[in-house]
């Protein structure tokens, strides 16, 4: 039986994260009603199993984990651990961030990103939404855990149940894909400087 103290503690710890969970749920299910159900169910489960929560650990990460498992179970979408080829990830990330002058193609892609977009502020909200939502689901969640919720690699590894190395490469891959998407939207809207 749960005493009032447990209830109070649960509300104090868990309720401040409703918005974060809801945002994740919307990004995952891309439907507001499903997202609401998902968040609601997450809180139900979390409260029922609050005694399994390890005090002192990150409650937000714990809630995200329940949300994620509920989502998988309910919507049967496999955000499993795709057998990513590590070197491919590294290559892709490098192709974006590297400034190695020996690779002209690579150099070009950095230039386009950092100098041809007049200002990132010009990119509309809808474009950001589309850029995130068009990512494969495992990269979409990686972006949210890392760039938006700013969870540690360790917490993310715990939530999605993969080793830290995989978390790192997945986040990097997600970021480079997202930057590419954003750039494409910027280009479509003419925010990117014309090439001669």
């Amino acid at each position: 039986m749960k005493g009032n103290d447990t209830r109070k503690e649960f509300e104090e710890l868990a309720m401040p994260h409703v918005d974060s969970l809801y945002n994740m749920a919307v990004r995952m299910s891309t439907n507001k009603e499903d997202a609401e159900d998902l968040v609601q169910e997450t809180y139900l489960k979390a409260y029922r199993f609050f005694n399994t929560f390890q005090k002192g650990t990150n409650v937000k990460a714990w809630l995200f984990k329940i949300l994620r498992n509920t989502f998988i179970n309910k919507y049967r979408k496999a955000i499993s651990s795709p057998s990513e080829v590590l070197y491919e990830d590294i290559e892709l990330v490098n192709s974006y961030v590297s400034t190695n002058n020996n690779e002209p193609d690579t150099k070009e892609s950095i230039d386009t990103l950092k100098s041809k977009v007049e200002s990132l502020d010009d990119i509309l909200g809808d474009d950001i939404k589309n850029a995130i939502d068009s990512l494969p689901i495992e990269y979409r969640e990686a972006i949210i855990y890392s760039d938006i919720e700013e969870l540690t690699y360790k917490d993310i590894a715990e939530i999605i149940n993969v080793p830290i190395g995989t978390v790192k490469s997945r986040i990097n891959r997600a970021r480079s894909l997202l930057r590419k998407n954003l750039w494409n939207y910027a280009k479509e809207r003419g925010f990117v400087k014309r090439e001669k």
Partner: protein
Amino acid sequence: MMSCIDFNKYLYEFMDGELKAGLYPKLQKHLEHCIPCNQLYEFEKQARLLIKSYCKNVTAPRHLHSRIIANLDSIDHELVSRTALPGRKRLKILFSPHTLAIAASLLLMIAGGIFYLTNNRQADSVSIVDDAVTNHVKVLNENLVFNERTSVVGNASRYLSQNINTQIRKSLNPLNIEQVRVVNDMPVNHYGTSSPCIVFNHEGNKLSLQIIRNMHFPIAKLERISFGSRDFYITNRRGFNTVIWMENDTTYFLTSDIHTNEMLRFAATLASH
């Protein structure tokens, strides 16, 4: 001085605050002196800010808060009324320390059979169902998804007859993926109670099957349902349904959060005919 290549290699981890402590000053120094890397850094910062500010604008609707609070109220209420249930009390009397002691001494003669009951602090008649539920929850939380191929429903009874481990393990370690082994294409793991827990992925829903050998579960007080030619018993713990049936001296506990009718149909395919 750090090279641009190295700077770029560590940039994300630098910004995420996930670098080894000694590297921060090196990256910081490079950042101050290298204009292209500085631009890249600023671009990255701006991109993150943009994405973050967009997503942080999405807030949960007001009514969702009140729905959650109402849900919590109903759980509190449910838990209070459940502990006040008279039926539960009778079961407890049936399993008073005295009867339990007799049962224990009898069962001790069966190799390992009683370890579970005596070791469990709340050795009442429902604790084993609680365990089945706990194991199922762990399966869900550990995100153990087995694909359709390795958890073929039709072949389950074949596997069951071959792979049941009757060794009693007293540890109640939480499940982790390393503890799962695949025997004849069937995931089997040892944890929680003494029995292996087999996870089925049935049309996307997860069902956990726990098998206890040499153990007679006191099911007389549970709801009985005849399905096919067999009797099943149904109970509900913490929002999960458990369907129980017995064959010879073995008790099967099938646990999931799907509808009991669907579970019964599934259980019937597992039960041998």
